[in-house]
Symmetry: C2
Subunit: 132 residues, 2 copies
């Protein structure tokens, strides 16, 4: 029973609208810019650090390493070290990460499809503002 209670809190289930619920911080981490793009880039792929970095345009080595560490900590990413010479590490989504990815891919696909409309909306609002 105790396992159902979050440490130091009274939440049996996340409550995102409650400022005291730890789900807030988990959401923040999971939806950070690079976390989202890592989920998308690792979709169906097992990649080395360098491959992942090339796939995600614009990410620095430092930000990628830091974000991968947090995602490993939360259990979204699995780090697979190979004890060969030279040693190397590969990254893939854990089962939990795959579940998160399914939700994220839906959002990403939708956004990519609707991008023009969103950009057009901005133009309309600016035009309205200029006219008034």
């Amino acid at each position: 029973m105790e396992k159902d209670l979050l440490p130091g809190a009274r939440f049996r289930r996340g409550e995102l609208l409650n400022r005291d619920c730890p789900s807030r911080e988990v959401l923040k981490r999971l939806t950070s810019r690079w976390s989202l793009l890592i989920l998308i880039a690792l979709d169906g792929n097992t990649l080395r650090f360098g491959e992942l970095r090339r796939k995600i345009g614009g990410v620095s080595e430092r930000m990628l390493a830091q974000t991968l560490r947090l995602m490993e900590e939360d259990g979204f990413v699995k780090r697979i070290p190979y004890e060969v010479i030279p040693p190397h590490v590969e990254y893939q989504l854990s089962p939990l990460g795959q579940e998160a990815r399914e939700r994220i891919i839906g959002l990403a696909d939708w956004l990519e499809e609707n991008l023009h409309q969103i950009i057009d909306n901005r133009g309309d609002v600016s035009a309205d503002a200029e006219q008034s």
Copy 2:
């Protein structure tokens, strides 16, 4: 045909993994902490500013106003001014915002359900690190 091209870019469709694609910035805005919580709070609701603020624990007046303005600009939120005395304004999701919300709610529900597992994962990683 020209309408399909983004201003100043060569993207007919968003490409989130491309650093030059404007979809990156749209994703960043849409998945910012307060944008996500506004989408969740306005799910099926039309709310005044104060009501919305009370619903989203911990948001400051300034951050809420600023985020609502960006979401209105992108076409996710509709601002409805009432010319009564005293004047007041209500906020609701636009059809585009409702589509975004559907994708977000899936992610939020999943996260709230899996929160304990994610928090537990953190404990496991820390324990592993201490042992090694």
